[in-house]
Amino acid sequence: MAKRIDISGLTAYYGSHKAIEDISMTVEPRSVTAFIGPSGCGKSTFLRTLNRMHEVTPGGRVEGKVLLDDENLYGSNVDPVTVRRTVGMVFQRPNPFPTMSIFDNVAAGLRLNGSYRKSELNDIVEKSLRGANLWNEVKDRLNKPGSGLSGGQQQRLCIARAIAVEPQVLLMDEPCSALDPISTLAIEDLIGELKERFTIVIVTHNMQQAARVSDRTAFFNLAAVGKPGRLIEIDETERIFSNPSVQATEDYISGRFG
């Protein structure tokens, strides 16, 4: 199930603005890869190129290759919808569907992709909500709108929604930044569980989190303000945190806290 991702020479633009430049790396299957780096260096942008969400932004353009088990996502006969179903995503800002109830939010991906029996759906929704550590808080109001939840609840709802469709790769953009320690722990446990089957990429600002959950860590940085972001190095998480090969990484991490 899990897939390897091979990125080579990837550059992404917003209109004429080059946001990231010439990134090449490999994301191993059945592992967690963490992206770290200062704000604005292009982590989110890069993440969005991995499931072809970047091109959805007006002016968004991508050059380079992303191979998912040897198949180029940007190949000419590849369907972005299939890509996105295979590579799921949780966004930096929680964005539940305002017109849908909590239940429907979680079921959305399933329902809109195929038909399920009611009981099947119930099971999957419950499982996903439990996985996102939200079940207890919402089980009594599954039919209430998702927008009446607290910030952290909304974010967990979005996570539940993403894992409900069982993607093969899961991209998470700061999934825990709005969560309390308990939920964060739950999500991290979930990640640990999911990586047995899936490939996971997570953006985080939290070094400890990166250290705790990831197998490999990639550090991004800007050469200078206004310049595009670049991959500085990627390595085993242990090495990055103990003995990085680039000075910039060391500098960034040594301001370690948070």
Partner: protein, 360 residues
């Protein structure tokens, strides 16, 4: 309707003098605006009487002006500039509302008062067959049938067509085709109804077709589409991209994203737009004269033979110029308004049921 109305500061009723401190400021009593209004009206009426102006319109406008000036001045003096501006804005909004209410209420009142005289069960169930203009008999049934069918056909054609076009423009549209469509939709918004009628008429002559409800409905379609497209387009543009992204990222195909996420989010506005469009065409006279011919008799087949319609009927009765026909004209106007009202209620019901649930 989903009233996501937010900014509802709880007004603070006054009790005694304000304590001296940073937060509570001197503020006008809650009912101050009512006082201002009373003073302004008194002033305006006084001035109007003194100067001998007989039109109540100027009295009203003067009162409105006084009201704005007084509330601004007093608030500036008692509270501060910003509060004054806020109050001025509030006042202007109220004045706008009241200003608009006067003519609109007058119109509705005239229609209801005059229409009610003639409106009864007989009127609703009979046609004008064999009724002379001066006779206080006859009814509107044939015109109701005509309007229902013509507007129905026009809506069935233009609502989906307009909606899909708007979806195309907002969700897919780029490039020459979209620009061309936009261009022509813009042109269409200003098309006089009689010109639309002429276009269909010339087709009718070329194809050797007889006047019928369908022909009228086609002209109404031309008039309805741009309103649907333009208002729907506007509502779709307001749907946050975030939601589209959320859906796309789930691997939901674009069309289902549009159907299940984008359209439901905008459904309230879209419904309003379609209702406005229906309201507009339901009141069209010119194309009916040209294409549906008009009739005094009941014809329930919109595809064959002359029909009538409510606005046509109103125009016809107005032109007769008899007391009895005026009564019929107003009663028919009332029927038409009631018809759109009921439609509107139903549509709002649907929209509310589907609309986004509000919440933080």
């Amino acid at each position: 309707m989903s009233h996501a109305t937010a900014v509802q500061d709880r007004p603070t009723p006054p009790t005694g003098p304000a304590p001296k401190s940073g937060l509570s400021s001197r503020s006008l009593p809650r009912l101050a605006p009512v006082g201002f209004a009373a003073v302004s009206i008194a002033l305006a009426v006084g001035l109007g009487l003194a100067a001998g102006w007989h039109s109540k319109v100027q009295w009203g406008m003067l009162a409105a002006l006084f009201f704005l000036a007084i509330s601004y001045a007093v608030t500036t003096a008692v509270e501060n500039k910003r509060q004054a501006k806020d109050r001025l804005a509030t006042s202007i909004v109220w004045v706008c509302f009241l200003l608009a209410v006067v003519p609109l209420a007058s119109l509705l009142w005239t229609t209801i008062a005059r229409g009610a005289e003639r409106l009864d069960g007989y009127f609703l169930t009979h046609s004008m067959a064999g009724v002379l203009g001066s006779e206080a008999s006859g009814g509107v049934y044939h015109a109701m049938v005509g309007t229902l069918q013509q507007v129905g056909i026009a809506t069935v054609i233009s609502a989906p067509l307009g909606l899909l076009t708007a979806v195309y423009l907002v969700e897919y549209g780029k490039g020459a085709l979209a620009r061309a469509v936009t261009f022509f939709v813009d042109v269409m918004t200003g098309i006089p109804s009689i010109v639309a009628g002429l276009f269909i008429l010339s087709i009718m002559l070329i194809a050797n077709l007889e006047p019928s409800g369908l022909m009228g409905a086609l002209a109404l379609t031309i008039l309805m589409i741009p309103v649907v497209v333009r208002s729907t387009e506007e509502m779709l543009k307001l749907v946050p991209n975030e939601l589209r992204e959320a859906s796309l990222a789930l691997g939901i195909p674009k069309w289902r994203t549009i159907l299940k996420v984008v359209l439901p989010t905008a459904i309230g506005g879209i419904t309003t737009g379609v209702m406005l469009a229906i309201a507009r065409i339901a009141g069209e006279t010119a194309p009916i004269i040209l294409l549906v011919f008009g009739s005094q008799l009941i014809n329930t087949n919109p595809f064959d033979g002359a029909q009538s319609s409510l606005p046509f009927y109103i125009y016809e009765q107005y032109k007769i110029g008899e007391a009895a026909s005026y009564d019929r004209a107003w009663a028919a106007a009332l029927v038409l308004i009631a018809f759109v009202m009921i439609l509107n209620l139903v549509a709002r019901g649907i929209a509310r049921w589907k609309a986004p649930k509000t919440g933080r």
